[in-house]
Assembly symmetry: none
Homo-oligomer: 226 residues x 2
DNA sequence: CGGGAAATGAAAAATATCTGAAAACTTTAC
DNA sequence: GTAAAGTTTTCAGATATTTTTCATTTCCCG
């Protein structure tokens, strides 16, 4: 899946169309906001992003992405109308993996995308998360314990995913609420406990991988503890 | 650089002091006017702001900031004495990124600041603190002595962390109480002693790194003493 | 020595988490 | 549009663990 963030609709549609006919899955966004919303749901394997966007600039978005450990590994290619050396350096320094100056040809775009994917070539590894007997296929939204599939609800799935993505790191209830429920969630902090319980129950034997860290929160470790 | 706008001088100084010892650059302001003047000169990476200020209220300041495209992206954490739900919603609706109710502990403040910075995407913290045989991984919330893991409770962990963060500096009981228990803690000063004891016990051999400085408090040194 | 400061031991108080169950809310099916 | 099913949230004990207190002993330094 490739995300394209570009406010010019013509360019955006053209890029999406080209990507799709080349065999990629692709979705376009006109502004940073809708893009970020989508990011919550699915991690793309590459991001194409215009430097000039209405509201939040592409550079800001880039900085955010590269500063967030969940997203920093997604390769980003910046698109821009400016071709001055200054902007180029700026873009690369911000952590972009490549840089394309408008107007660009579709063939060039494709070959650059392939080059970046080849270079960063780390696909796979975010799609399936594992811990002990628990295995999660993020894209298919499926969880298996010891070879048997387990049905999880949305919140349970997100909870497990976040814990798996942060192996060994203790996540506080606040952090979990913030990331899964949204930063403006105003409900009980106990809610997390209840979901952890149902998660442990449903995971059966595998449930023991979720450790309680008293006074702090929860985490999933590497399983070399008692 | 972090700006703190708070009219209570005691709280302000305490916050600034804590931020500085944690590795942030920080400046405090007693009113909205001086704060706005400083804003002209330099953009901070985060703003801590009391809701109740003499003259212009914190909410007004917040509204101004979030309405100005130069400043709208600077994360803001509101401080307030009121804990009613109404105020909370008000603060978040105004565009604040987080909200802390007084009285708050310094450790909580720091972790909230880090959370907001993480969310808005800057900074990276993979903190591992060490002293002699003792090694602490802050994110994993784990402590190791001589290769063996030691389980610490919340307060013990915080205590050890603060001492490790202030290598070679003697921390008074008051300072420890203030930072870990919160600035309004009114209990016994002896409480610290008891926690130091359990900490030393649990750390076993490594426990000797915590020195008692008679009449002052405790510290963790570089270990080249007896 | 003597007096204040710190360490100890052990019990009381305070807190955090888990549990079971019901209420509130969503979605799906008819 | 309503009923049924499923999901999420809240709540009130029960339980386990941590934190605090306090009386006592030991230690350090003048």
């Amino acid at each position: 899946m490739i995300y394209c963030v570009e406010d010019d609709e013509n360019i955006r549609e053209l890029v999406i169309y080209t990507l799709k006919t080349t065999g990629f899955k692709a979705v376009g966004f006109g502004d940073g906001e809708s893009f970020r919303a989508a990011l919550q749901e699915e991690k793309p394997e590459l991001i194409l992003m215009d430097i000039m966007l209405p509201g939040e600039s592409g550079m800001e978005l880039l900085a955010r992405l590269k500063g967030d450990r969940h997203y920093k590994n997604i390769p980003v290619i910046m698109l821009t109308a400016k071709s001055s050396e200054y902007d180029k350096v700026l873009g690369l320094d911000g952590g972009a993996d490549d840089y394309i100056t408008k107007p660009f040809g579709m063939m060039e775009l494709i070959s650059r995308i392939k080059a970046v994917l080849r270079r960063t070539g780390q696909r796979e590894d975010t799609d399936v998360l594992e811990a002990g007997k628990v295995r999660m296929d993020v894209d298919r939204h499926e969880v298996w314990v010891d070879g048997a599939q387990v049905a999880l609800t949305y919140k349970e799935f997100e909870l497990l995913k976040l814990l798996l993505l942060n192996r060994n790191i203790v996540l506080s209830r606040d952090r979990l609420l913030e990331d899964i429920w949204g930063y403006d969630y105003t409900g009980e902090t106990r809610t997390v406990d209840v979901h952890v319980r149902t998660l442990r129950q449903k995971l059966g034997e595998g449930g023991s991988c979720i450790e309680t860290v008293r006074g702090i929160g929860y985490r999933i470790g590497d399983g070399h503890e008692a």
